[in-house]
Amino acid sequence: MAELARTPVVLEVPATIGALGDIAAFVLRLAGRAGLGRRASYRLRLAVDELATNIVMHGYRGGDGRITVRGRSGPGGVQITIEDSAPAFDPVAGRLPPCPGVPPQDRRIGGLGIHLALTSVDEFAYAHRDGRNISTLTVQAEGTDPCPPRP
């Protein structure tokens, strides 16, 4: 992993669908600062967007809450940490990979956003500390396969 800035830049937003655009703009600025290409920037945005959407829709369930996004960029890479104080939720455990045996139109679509997020990043870690969910993800300029194996 490329060396990252020591001090993160921080964005704190209310946990609403309307705030997802602010998070996307924040993430894309960091991607630009790190010199990520279009594909890597897209992957980073998709992963953060899916995790943040999940926090809004399923974490706080439409109730009041805050999402804190911290970002550190360096040459060729970005690390984002997303924090919330909704009930504990480990995205890795909650991931729902598409089931190969079920026709796509019959599959549950819930959980697929998490699957998309986790297949878009190069590194992912989750911790639950002091009542907060903390997801840390990293995207490098040249990293994850542009299309993971089809289910």
Partner: protein
């Protein structure tokens, strides 16, 4: 960035044209248009996505909804989508029931 959605009928094909970004905030408009398209009884529903710069899982949800709303013999075609959007569709395995086409 907002999403603009238009619907037109060309012979046996219902055409939905999308422009902008398809995410949790905007997918509702697409969803409603699919509902209208499904009622037209066309043999093909063509979803033109060349001007969609971003699609999240909320867009996938709408495509699954489209597949569920139309009869099995109706072809759903996604036309002109950029590579990362195609990747998202393939990651969900939806390319087995929806045709992805360059044009």
């Amino acid at each position: 960035m907002p999403l603009s959605v238009s619907l037109s009928i060309k012979g046996d094909t219902t055409v939905i044209e999308l422009s902008g970004e398809l995410d949790a905030e905007t997918a509702g408009d697409f969803h409603q248009t699919i509902e209208k398209a499904a009622g037209h009884g066309s043999t093909t529903v063509e979803i033109r996505m060349a001007d969609v710069g971003y699609m999240a899982s909320a867009g996938l949800r709408s495509l699954v909804f489209a597949r569920q709303k139309v009869a099995d013999n109706v072809t759903i075609k996604v036309v002109g989508a950029i590579e990362p959007v195609c990747r998202t569709i393939r990651t969900a395995g939806l390319d087995r029931s929806i045709v992805i086409s360059d044009e």
